[in-house]
């Protein structure tokens, strides 16, 4: 027996692999049992003396220590582990290499059913987390599952899910399809939930096809069709990216990328030229300061974005105006349910009341606010203050009669004059010097169609046309990369090893340039040679 014992390193390697295999298969019955078995086993081996003989004896002790059932399970997994090890050594691609990607696979915009697909080793894990189930559904069978957000537990949708274990799947990897109801809010919710699962990230253009191709899964005609599709996808994404980059977020991202590139260039210069050429004092300190500032800015932005994410809706619409103008009535009319209490008394609404609604096909968060007036009780004043505050960061404002137009013009404003039923048909209309406005009667519903049409136009301008591309999708991508960037910057702080610190900045920059484009080495070298006198 003793002669045939394998070398220590082989056992260690096998056990480490076993551990990693087991930890990649969470929740299943076998795994939990098997993990316990292994734990015991490694416990034996982990004695302070770390005696080789302990290791050697451990497997034999298994059968005596545990129930036959568990021993059987262990053997099954041991077989799998062994297969894995041998496959590794024979050089075949190890299963589960590469990240798990997800994307909306069906057409974008409003539709009956939307299909979201994942591919990669964590697909099964993601499915279990979203459907809160311990087991995977039977392979290649449609099953109905309630999907919910893993962080908040908030239900997202009842959806058909299909589980395709690799290699018998579209890409050859483990795949999951979620067939969800096609509203933008639902799609966005599921995408964001997927994005929050560790190990998952949004797919880049054509990535599913690339994987399928790499695994030999596509026949010729399929590739032919897909090539066109990817061309379209790339184009759409490029246009989408451009549109996004025109906006405020785009400017922010570009600014951040620029700061980060410069900081990285200075760190790189310090590595490549710090010893032989004279760089000015404080190059690293300056980079540190810039990275800190960037971290703060990104963190603030992401916290802000998370507030929006909770609502899973595109635009924010605020109804504001003087007291008793009928704001709450308008909100109730638009949301078709009694959200706010209405009364003829001014100042009935004292707080900001929010309700998610679907306006002309757009997911919208509608806010009712306290009427803007001075000199009332402290509670209402606080309500007024909050109303003003909410106007500051929200995209679309529907103002009832008499509202002052906000000073900065980045917000869109619709002026709505309520109570048109009080105007006598033959009497004088509203004053001539008013800016463009809409007439509405919440009582009779007159003018509602005109308001909805006007709102649709405004929302389309804010959210993008839902028929050409989904801002929700892009937002998930943005968030993923910004979060990735922030995480990487955290590693920069920790590293004493400058090569490791620079690597953190490189990863962070990689995430940002996914959003802004660019990102080559030459850019870095350009900055180095522009900012420093280095050379022979």
């Amino acid at each position: 027996m003793r002669d045939s014992k394998p070398p220590l390193a082989v056992i260690c390697t096998a056990l480490c692999q076993a551990r990693s295999v087991l930890s990649s298969i969470p929740y299943s019955y076998c795994q939990s049992r098997c993990a316990r078995t292994l734990k015991i086993r490694s416990h034996v081996a982990r004695g302070t003396t770390f005696r080789y003989t302990h290791l050697h004896r451990a497997p034999a002790s298994l059968s005596t220590l545990h129930q036959p059932m568990e021993a059987k399970i262990f053997r099954r997994w041991a077989g799998r582990i062994l297969r894995l090890c041998t496959r590794r050594s024979s050089g075949a691609p190890a299963p589960g290499s590469g990240a798990t990607i997800f994307a909306l696979s069906s057409g974008q915009g409003r539709c009956g059913i939307a299909v979201i697909r994942t591919s990669g080793p964590s697909s099964g894990h993601a499915l279990r987390i979203l459907s809160a189930a311990r087991d995977l559904p039977p392979a290649r069978h449609a099953s109905l599952r309630l999907l919910s957000d893993p962080r908040s537990g908030e239900p997202l949708d009842r959806a058909l899910v299909l589980w395709f274990p690799g290699p018998r799947s579209f890409t050859g990897e483990d795949c999951v399809e979620f067939h969800v109801h096609g509203g933008p809010a639902v799609v966005s919710g599921v995408l964001q939930a997927l994005g929050s699962v560790p190990g998952l990230r949004p797919a880049e253009a054509g990535e599913f096809t690339r994987r399928a191709f790499a695994n030999g899964k596509l026949n010729l005609t399929e590739v032919e069709g897909l090539a066109d599709l990817i061309h379209a996808e790339t184009e759409a994404q490029r246009r989408q990216a451009l549109r996004q980059l025109d906006g405020e977020l785009g400017h922010l991202c570009c600014g951040w990328a620029e700061t980060l590139t410069k900081a990285l260039a200075h760190v790189e210069a310090y590595i490549d030229f710090g010893e032989d050429d004279n760089l000015e004092e404080g190059v690293l300190e300056q980079a540190d300061i810039e990275v800190r500032a960037l971290e703060v800015a990104l963190g603030a932005h992401l916290r802000d974005a998370r507030r929006g994410q909770r609502l899973r809706s595109g635009a924010h619409v605020v109804v504001t105006g003087p007291p008793n103008a009928g704001k709450s009535s308008l909100v109730n009319l638009l949301s078709r349910k009694p959200v706010s209490i209405v009364s003829p008394e001014p100042g009935t609404t004292r707080d900001v009341l929010e309700t998610p609604v679907d306006l002309a096909g757009f997911p919208v968060l509608l806010s009712d606010t306290a009427g803007l007036r001075e000199g009332v009780g402290p509670v209402e004043q606080e309500g007024v203050r909050r109303a003003r505050e909410s106007c500051n960061f929200l995209a679309t404002v529907v103002a009832s009669v008499g509202a002052q137009s906000p000073s900065d013009s980045s917000q869109r404003l619709l002026l709505v004059l309520n109570k048109s039923d009080l105007l006598s048909p033959k009497g004088p209309g509203p004053r001539r010097d008013l800016p463009p406005h809409l007439l509405l009667s919440c009582l009779t519903g007159e003018g509602l169609d005109g308001l909805l049409e006007a709102l649709r136009k405004e929302l389309a301008a804010v959210c993008g046309d839902p028929s050409t591309g989904s801002p929700l999708l892009t937002r998930a991508r943005h968030q993923h990369h910004l979060q990735g960037c922030l995480d990487a910057l955290g590693h920069y702080k920790q590293s004493k090893d400058l090569a490791l610190a620079a690597e953190a900045l490189r990863v962070a920059r990689g995430h940002l340039t996914q959003l802004t484009g660019g990102g080559g080495t030459e850019e870095i070298l350009d900055i180095i040679f522009r900012d420093f006198c280095v050379g022979k």
């Binding site: 070398p7 220590l8 390193a9 260690c12 390697t13 056990l15 490694s42 081996a45 982990r46 003396t49 770390f50 005696r51 050089g91 075949a92 691609p93 190890a94 290499s97 590469g98 990240a99 253009a205 054509g206 096809t209 690339r210 790499a214 030999g216 596509l218 010729l220 590739v223 897909l226 090539a227 990817i230 061309h231 790339t234 184009e235 790189e268 310090y270 590595i271 490549d272 710090g274 010893e275 032989d276 050429d277 004279n278 004493k496 090893d497 400058l498 090569a499 490791l500 620079a502 690597e503 080495t521 870095i524 070298l525 350009d526 040679f529 522009r530 006198c533 280095v534 050379g535 022979k536």
Partner: protein
């Protein structure tokens, strides 16, 4: 007839030593007594020597053609080797059993590792080298290399024949014509002639063609290359004047002492030839406003600076430093040229002012007030490195003032990653001719060209180093896919996978491949690398497996700053990541399995480095796999991008692809202007071609790309 010109003794000695027939005689009726070799290397510089010895190590009968045997191994510019990025290249050259690292370990006079405090991934091994010793040692090595013949002679032309049908290219090279009209035939030819095309030396307003005075430079080879359609570009560089050692007041300057102990360049050496206390110091001084003034006042006398020829973005000369960064003090390193040399090389003072102004400028500098610039000797001034009997430039003469050089280079996008030209089969380019600068960059290309020229002769697949495997791969990939518009120099910032491609692990990355795929590595070196690899793997496994609670670690190793608040067990590998922990302290804490790993100092140090980067490398490995998958997808070599109809490509993408001729999807995706959509279309094309081939062969082959991917996986650490 074989033409020996003055070195017959050495050549013959080399023949007798190897008991090798004096070159196989060609049986062609036209040239009954023409010598025939496997590989001819033209040029005996840093690329040429590495190429010739690499080809010989691979088993090819090799001829090194150089204008003068006594200039082999000449360090034509700065008296130092290595540095940040360049040191990495040297370790990789050494891992492939190249020469320069071993020779430097025998010839240095000041060894220092740069970036010591910035992490082992960016350590830069560097040494001041004794020029004379380096040349001597290199020549000894070259003339004692089995299968390698050295001959003096200048090449006038290439012999071109019909191309092989199974490869792309207009024609095939089958030998060279020397200036005396004699011919030598060979299966492969490597051109490493440095700055040979239309080289011009510039000092002040004077310009001289870089060729022997009075000689009309023969431009046969240059003309042949141009006629064949090679695209050339123009670059410029420069070198500082040398200063007499005894005229410098060192006592008032900053002294830099060498490392103790010295770290050798080569994996096979435990130490260098010289003790640290016997090594020479370097000195640091700075320029001052008076230097700026002299430069700025005399710009009208300085045609090199005025010329529009593209210089590098970095600052190669004191003029560019003063012009682009005025009102600053610039560093000047005073470096010894050798043990018994009375010359000092002022690093950072590369200048093209007229000679008398150079001295005036130098005497403004602190410590150099009485400095003597070595005056030019007119006769020696324009001695070239004349492998091609043409306008070849030499920096090699030590008795020059500072001067500038302008020269043509061949656009490196015209060569493949194996350094063979697209246009002419079996013709390889290596070194400065491809637009690079520096000994190390040249040596790295030389090794690759030598190996591939040899593999081509034996009809084996080329030996290509990927970007994911080494700095050599980054260097060649950058050159062949992006080209260059300034002398290309290696920086660590160019390397995406810098944390994986470290100086310490070059042997694991390349020695094993060099042995198996190229056959250029000695058995001894291979066995050493194998032992190191398995020891490292075993050590890492054991370190991963030892787990204690953090409080227990704290008890075992009190100096570790581990936080004891976490209850999870901590692996020994994670403990080793802490700066204050090394293998010795770890082995003291857990002696049983770990003690044996501290016996070999190199092993212990390398385990510590592996632990430092372990967590990041885990993530980087995924990325590397992605890149390697793309690189495993070969594009057909004979694809005509301009006319091909099956692939939908934009006109711009077609032109870019046509010029660079990327060999893999990975390389194609790095060419600027080639969109992701174009890449997908190319992928489709690869698949089509493969299926068509499979149908033609009617053999149930596995998917080519998958097989290649498997091969790559195997190669990984």
């Amino acid at each position: 007839m074989f033409y020996f010109r003055g070195c017959g003794r050495w050549v013959a000695a080399s023949f007798i030593k190897q008991q090798f027939p004096l070159a196989r005689l060609s049986s062609d009726s036209a040239a009954p007594r023409t010598p025939h070799f496997d590989v001819i290397v033209i040029g005996g510089g840093h690329a040429g020597t590495e190429a010739a010895t690499a080809a010989a190590r691979c088993g090819s009968r090799t001829l090194l053609l150089t204008h003068r045997v006594d200039t082999i191994g000449q360090m034509s510019c700065n008296p130092s080797f290595g540095g940040i990025g360049k040191g990495h290249l040297m370790r990789e050259v050494d891992a492939l059993d190249g020469l320069c690292s071993r020779i430097c370990d025998q010839s240095g006079v000041h060894y220092k590792v740069l970036n010591r405090r910035k992490g082992p991934a960016v350590w830069g091994l560097r040494a001041q080298i004794d020029r004379k010793l380096y040349k001597q040692n290199m020549q000894k090595e070259i003339l004692n290399t089995p299968l390698l013949t050295v001959q003096e002679g200048a090449v006038e032309d290439l012999i071109l024949t019909e191309p092989e049908p199974e490869h792309t290219g207009k024609c095939r090279v089958s030998g060279v014509v020397l200036v005396d009209g004699s011919t030598v035939y060979a299966e492969s030819v490597i051109l490493t002639t440095g700055t040979f095309l239309r080289g011009m030396i510039v000092i002040g307003l004077e310009m001289h063609p870089a060729g022997r005075l009075g000689d009309h430079p023969s431009i046969g080879l240059a003309q042949t290359l141009e006629k064949l359609g090679f695209v050339v570009g123009r670059l410029k560089t420069g070198t500082p004047p040398r200063i007499a050692k005894d005229s410098i007041n060192f006592s008032i300057l900053n002294k830099q002492t060498p490392d103790n102990p010295s770290v050798p360049f080569s994996f096979t050496n435990e130490t260098v030839w010289i003790k640290p206390e016997d090594q020479l110091p370097c000195y640091l001084t700075h320029t001052n406003p008076r230097v700026d003034e002299i430069v700025l006042k005399n710009l009208h006398l300085n045609s090199h600076v005025k010329e529009t020829t593209r210089g590098p973005r970095y600052c190669p000369s004191i003029e560019s430093k003063v012009l682009r960064f005025p009102n600053r003090l610039h560093q000047v390193w005073l470096e010894p040229e050798g043990m018994d040399s009375d010359l000092i090389y002022p690093q950072g003072l590369s200048v093209t002012l007229p000679a008398e102004l150079q001295e005036k400028m130098i005497t403004c500098i602190r410590g150099l007030e009485k400095a003597k610039v070595i005056q030019p000797d007119r006769v020696l001034l324009l001695l070239p490195r004349m492998e091609c009997n043409g306008a070849i430039l030499a920096h090699h003469n030590l008795s020059l003032p500072g001067y500038g050089v302008q020269y043509d280079y061949l656009d490196p996008r015209q060569i493949t990653p194996s350094l063979e030209t697209h246009l002419v089969q079996r013709l390889f380019f290596a070194g400065q001719i491809n637009g690079t600068t520096g000994y190390e960059e040249a040596a790295a290309q030389g090794v690759i060209a030598g190996i591939n020229a040899s593999l081509r002769v034996s009809r084996k697949p080329p030996f290509v180093v990927s970007r994911t495997e080494g700095y050599i791969g980054v260097l060649i990939d950058d050159l062949t896919t992006l080209g260059t518009s300034e002398p290309y120099r290696m920086f660590t910032s160019r390397v995406e996978f810098r944390l994986s491609l470290r100086p310490d692990n070059a042997d694991i990355r390349l020695t094993l491949r060099g042995y198996k795929d190229a056959g250029c590595v000695s058995q001894q070196r291979y066995e050493r690398a194998c032992w190191m690899k398995s020891s490292l793997e075993e050590g890492i496994s054991v370190l991963k497996f030892i787990e204690f609670s953090s409080s227990k670690w704290k008890n075992l190793i009190p100096e570790v700053s581990i936080s004891t608040s976490r209850s999870l067990p901590v692996r020994a590998l994670d403990v080793l990541k802490y700066e204050e922990v090394d293998m010795d302290s770890l082995a003291k804490a857990v002696p049983e399995p770990l003690k044996k790993y501290t016996k070999c100092r190199e092993l212990a140090e390398r385990l510590k480095i592996e632990a430092t980067y372990e967590s990041v490398l885990f993530h980087q490995l995924q990325e590397i796999k992605g890149v390697q998958q793309d690189e495993a997808l070969q594009l057909p070599k004979d694809i005509d991008y301009l006319t091909i109809r099956d692939v939908s490509l934009s006109h711009e993408a077609r032109e870019k692809l046509h010029f660079s001729r990327p060999q893999t999807i990975g390389a194609a995706s790095r060419i600027p202007g080639v969109t992701p959509a174009a890449i997908i279309n190319l992928l489709r094309f690869v698949k089509t071609t493969q299926q068509r081939q499979a149908a033609m062969n009617e053999s149930p082959k596995t998917d080519q790309c998958l097989r290649d991917a498997d091969r790559l996986q195997e190669r990984q650490l």
